[in-house]
Amino acid sequence: MMEITTVHYTVLSAALFSIGVIGVLVRRNIIIIFMAIELMLNAVNINLVAHAHRLENLVGEVFVVFVIAVAAAEAAVGLGIILAFFRNKETVNIDEMNVMRW
């Protein structure tokens, strides 16, 4: 077995990111789509942490903190929108969310 290098982490990150992309593109349940986006953000985080580890520079980790903050903000607003939408249209199917107002 070979030594684990940053490349391994990057590959892992890329694979995770792709799974996230698949989720966003294939699923229609908006909540699952949101979770796929979280997966993609996590892929990015893994990449950042791995490189911060390699470079022995914590800037990468600082950005992870920001990413997590953004993810939290996104989840709060996004779920708020889902709830508001659901209350009016009674669906979480993204295909039916095709109007800007209701």
Binding site: F86, K89, E90, T91, N93, E96, N98, V99, W102
Partner: protein
């Protein structure tokens, strides 16, 4: 675009079946709550799970046997039920009850009121989460049950009165024990108050909860403490005195806001007033027989009457029709205070939260044996 709601979501309001097996519906009451989140939008009260047909049964029992059936209605205040029934028959037959019997009946009825309120206080506090009060109140109720046991041998269904008086005179020394109990009880009421009356959480849970105006309360036919909580001066003991209440001095506590807290304060004050009545009755207990002149075979003349007394829950009325020929009533009807008060539950509950529902069931003080009969 297509706005037809897809059928895959359940967006109806949450319908919750509270009861008939539920820890705080005080028996087998069933509430079908329609909730919006935690807020109650509508409630349907379903009852009848302990309907035993006491009215129908009574029409086929003779006048004395019915006393035993009345025990089974409000089973936490059986003596009050006995009293109401016996007085109604006495009114129908125009029987004079000896003064001593009327005094003892008053004592029994007031002891029963304390016992019933103890049970109410305990369960009501328990519903709101104050579990210690429950056991404190039951400790005192136990003393009353002991007194009743000594008087009539039973602890729950007393069968303690007869048409025309009482089956038994009080045992020797019983009055002293009642007096001692009054002293104990007087000391214990402040103990309950200490735990609840000024407790912040208790205030938040009961103040402004289930407010009902005096007009609505009268219109809905509420009676007893729920009616007095809305500042309506109505107490059968004062308005239409029965037993020996016209000879005693006592006050009828009234609420001001008509909320759960007021009803709580009223019942606590009734503890004190009941003790006051019992003491007066013991002080003035006359000598004499406890049974009036009653024909061997009870057979009232044809006629009908309605007579009400103030049970711990409210106005307990009996409507009895005699056809003058049979040894059983032609029609026997009970006006159950719990039933009428329970009717007030729906307007009280709507708009409140689920947690308040249990507090409001508690504040109405229902006994399902009486609601369903």
């Amino acid at each position: 675009m297509t706005t037809a709601p897809s059928p895959m979501f359940d967006t109806d309001e949450l319908v919750i079946n509270m009861g008939p097996q539920h820890p705080s519906t005080h028996g087998v009451l069933r509430l079908v709550l329609k909730l919006d989140g935690e807020k109650v939008k509508d409630v349907d009260v379903v009852m009848g799970y302990v309907h035993r047909g006491i009215e129908k049964l009574s029409e086929n029992r003779d006048w004395t046997q019915i006393i035993l059936l009345t025990d089974r209605m409000d089973y936490v205040a059986a003596a009050t039920n006995n009293l109401g029934y016996c007085e109604t028959v006495e009114k129908l037959m125009e029987i004079e009850v000896p003064r001593r019997a009327r005094y003892i009946r008053t004592i029994l009825a007031e002891l029963q009121r304390i016992a019933s309120h103890c049970l109410w206080l305990g369960t009501h506090a328990m519903d709101i989460g104050a579990m210690t009060v429950f056991l404190y109140a039951f400790r005192e109720r136990e003393l009353i049950l002991d007194l009743f046991e000594e008087y009539c041998g039973a602890r729950l269904t007393y069968n303690s009165m007869r048409v025309g008086g009482l089956p038994l005179d009080i045992p020797t020394g019983w009055d002293e024990k009642v007096r001692a109990f009054c002293d104990v009880m007087e000391a214990k009421v402040p103990e309950y108050e200490e735990l609840l009356t000024n407790n912040r959480i208790w205030l938040e849970r009961t103040r402004g909860i289930g407010v009902i105006s005096a007009e609505d309360a009268i219109g809905l036919g509420l009676c007893g403490p729920p009616l007095r909580g809305s500042a309506v001066y109505r107490d059968v003991r004062k308005d239409e005195p029965y037993a020996a209440y016209d000879e005693f001095d006592f006050e009828v506590p009234l609420g001001t806001r008509g909320d759960t807290y007021d009803r709580y304060l009223i019942r606590l004050e009734e503890f004190r007033q009941s003790i006051r009545i019992i003491r007066q009755a013991l002080d003035g207990l006359p000598e004499g027989p406890v049974m009036g002149k009653v024909p061997r075979l009870l057979k009232p003349k044809a006629g009908e009457t309605y007579h009400a007394i103030e049970s711990p829950k409210g106005e307990l009325g009996y409507f009895i029709v005699s056809d003058g020929r049979a040894t059983n009533p032609y029609r026997f009807r009970v006006r159950p205070p719990s039933f009428c008060n329970l009717q007030g539950l729906r307007p009280l509950v709507i708009g409140h939260l689920v947690a308040d529902v249990v507090a409001l069931i508690g504040t109405i003080d229902v006994v399902l044996g009486e609601v369903d009969r």
